[in-house]
């Protein structure tokens, strides 16, 4: 079970959090301008990476805040945690 360092509360058990999938997928500002394919790209297409992945987590049984996590899916190590709106750390690609 992960130990996740919530940027607002500190280290907590994974059971307090829920995972929200891939991070940095921005909802299009003008959805009506998009073709079906472009909209489908936003709506459905997600990466499934073995290695370093950027993902969203919610401290749902805690402060209810959403934040971002950099995790290596090959060994489940959480490499970095940062708040919503902050730029992803540049040293992970």
């Amino acid at each position: 079970m992960f130990l996740i360092n919530c940027p607002f509360c500190g280290e907590r058990d994974q059971s307090e959090f829920s995972s929200g999938g891939e991070a940095h997928i921005v909802r299009p500002k003008q959805p009506t301008e998009l073709s079906d394919d472009e909209w489908a790209e936003y709506l459905f297409m997600r990466k499934n990476i073995k290695g370093i992945q950027f993902e969203r987590w919610n401290h749902v049984h805690g402060c209810r805040k959403w934040f971002n996590v950099v995790r290596d899916t090959s060994n489940d190590k959480i490499l970095s945690v940062y708040k919503m709106g902050e730029k992803p750390p540049v040293n992970y690609k």
Partner: protein, 1000 residues
Amino acid sequence: MPNYRIHKTEYIDETKRVSFKYDGKTYFGYEGDTLASALLANGIHLVGRSFKYHRPRGIVSCGAEEPNAICQIGSKKDLTEPNVRATELELYEGLEASSQNCWPNVKFDIGGINNFISPLIPAGFYYKTFMWPKSFWKKVYEPLIRLSAGLGKSPTEPDPDIYDHKYVHYDVLVIGGGVSGIIAAKMAAKNNFKTLLVDDKKILGGSTIYQNNESIKIDDKLSNEWLKNEIQEIKKLSNLTIKTRTSIAAYHGYNFLLAKENLTDHLPEEKKKNKIRQRLWKIRAKKVIIATGSIERPLVFNNNDRPGILLSNSINKYLDYYGVTCGENIILFTNNDSAYETSISLHKKGIKNIIVDLRKSASSELIKQAESLGIKIYFNHVVTNTFGYRKINSLEIMKLSEDGNTTVGNKIRLSCDCLGMSGGWTPMVHMHTQSGGKLDFRDEDQVFLPKENSEDQISVGSCNGDFDLENIIDKTVNKINKFLDIDNQDYRDTNIICSKENDKRNIWLLPNKIPLGKTKCFIDFQNDSTAKDIKLALKEGFRSIEHVKRYTTTGMATDQGKLSNMHALGIIADTAGVKMGTLGTTTFRPPFTPLTFGTLVGRNVGKFFEVVRKTSMHEWHVENNAEFENVGQWKRPWYYAKNGENMHDAVQRESKAARDSAGILDASTLGKIDIQGTDASEFLNRVYTNAWSKLAIGKCRYGLMLNEDGMVYDDGVTTRISENHYLMTTTTGGAANVLSKLEDYLQTEWPELDVYLTSVTDHYSTASICGPNSKKILKKLFPNLDLSDENFPHMSFKEDKLENINCRIMRISFTGELSYEINIESKYGNSLWKMCIEAGKEFNLTPYGTETMHLLRAEKGFIIVGQDTDGTMTPSDLQMDWIVSKKKYDFIGKRSLYRSDTIREDRKQLVGLLTDDPKEILEEGAQIVSDIKSKPIDMLGHITSSYFSPNLNKSIALAVVRSGKTMKGQKLIIPMENKNINVTVSDTIFLDKENKRLNA
């Protein structure tokens, strides 16, 4: 009765005699015994029948690896437990145990016939045999297989024992209290690490605690004496917690481990009562030191499974720890030095024994000691067969050829009543691999060793492949100093004399003149798989160890192959001509030894199984015969069984009363979200399909919420309380998810919006009064409130006081009747309810439950999200295009409403259905077709809601049907098991299309 207890030891309290029953017969042992040691002291080796061939089997080991001595404990229907290892079960007064897998009894077992037909039941027998005739499977094969499958009997009544969970945090966790674990724990605790040391045994010390050979000394003391001192010392350390009878079950990521502590399993029944039986420790450790030791390997030769054949080191433990000898005429068969310790111990206690050693010669101090004691040693010899049915009585040995591949010379027959085997040691790498660590293979002695760590952990002692005491202590000290970044000097001058050497002659499958097909060389004792089975699997084309394992079932029994996996790998490698290290291993999965369900569940049983949410009116519902329905975690009144009514009658009565006069519903469970902020209106505009900017203060509006994929997600009425303050209601089941979803958008997509969300579901209780007389009841409750349609029209909101307590009153309707919802602070909910009931008495105000609510809304064609929708319905599919704003630029899910798939005209769409026979009630979930002749029948949709309406006196239903919108008036068929029901597609609104009743 024979007595094999031949000397006193400090671990057996001979003043405390314990009586126990085994297979119905009474025996005696002493406090300190395990069931296995007590049985052996009584001369009992035969403890069970093997799974497949029903061969007599005896105790093999003295620990968790035991494959044979598994028994059924107790006979009570609620307390009996199967598959308990007699080698781990501490003896207590009144213990009742019995052997498993035999009928009528362990000495004479009918299933034993399988042993004689064994050539007919090779590996994969089931897959190959029960293929045909097909019709036999259900009636003949499956019942037969089920009859013979499984070990032991499950309890048939609920477990009355108490179990517990505990969360703990430590700097360092040490797993295993043998010599290396004790050293590690001492070093950690003395250097200010808050440390936890766990061991599965009753006392600390591992195998060194009964090690008393003169040629193995630490600081001039016998190794066991030295270790006892160390144990005394660590018990004084204040920041070290020691937990015995505690075994680690699982090692999860981020150093999260589960341990099972046995608290009462060793106590007599009267002392177990009202105590916690087992505790599951949930441990988070910054660093983990694994010192789980190693287990001895058996050897694979013909008939190596007879009762009386044990692991050599286990014979030693039974002797030196329990004071019990496993025989009077013992032969030890070995490929390494460790059997010599057993031999010398036996000799010292006057037990005759000889040694058969696979090695051509060996000359360590230990061997010289054995030779000087006059113990007969057959070097370069191999056991080729054993004899004796219920217990071994003799065996044959032969000389090995130069290359070790075959036997030469004449057979020598030796008589014996016990055989000890030692095939070297297997490091217990379970914890290391469970944590995600990789393994390396060491060719010299053919062992897998811990390699890379993915967690902050380290393996020390014999689980790390260090087998002699000198190595164990030196390396443990060095590794711990480095691992904890400390400089502990406690063991710098420790002087260790260890005469054992690691020299070993490893042969996985021992040679024999008898063709393999005619031998019984067992690898997995518990699942009865043999060397022959492994070879057959290879011959049939299986290559991967994972496949061979499953095909032969090797290592798949309750012991998970602790004694068998290495031999299976070795034989595969030898047969396929590859290096063993390249094969890899099967996966080591938790739990290390079986756990009871009780331990895993802990206190969450019975009424604590799940959280139960009750409204503040709950007691009233109970007193008034409500049957409850679970909606999420909520208990909602389903219907009120008046005068012993059944559900149908109650619902008919309730629904009629609600439309004829007045009904009251506990609506407290609906999700309520308080929305505040200067951008609240804009926020609602973005999350609902309809427009919100123009909603006047004091007005209510129904909203439909979509997912981004355009599918209906939730619905409910939202009230504008003031300029920047709204109260949103959600479905009962969707409340938490809606709040999460809204928070998600607010925090991640629209952080610029000034909006705050608070769940107030539990803060308000709601009584919903509907029906033509509801206004009169409200008037009685709120005499000062102007209830006129002009002042308080449909879809509006007022605040008033009920005996000085603030109430929020919404005139909204889910039944189509004139209807008011009164919200009050939850602590007054029950009083509010009672006052409503009192005020409504003269109007036959009838409490109704969720079933009636569903019926009433169905008469009006109102949907229930989650019943009439299933995550694939768009607003248009529900014929609710009216609620989707055409003007709004964007809202959640808008773009998806004109994707090629969502604008298809042949989507499933919500329709009403009327049965040709108005008394016929359709079944929810039933399929809908138009043509039953063409095969396969084309399925058009299914029924989502169905009721008998007492107000319309006919059956009504809602359904989703392909292209349903265009099918009004069309005849369809509901094919049921016994008949076909004819229906006609109708409008979804069955009652009061003009909405006259809202203002009645």
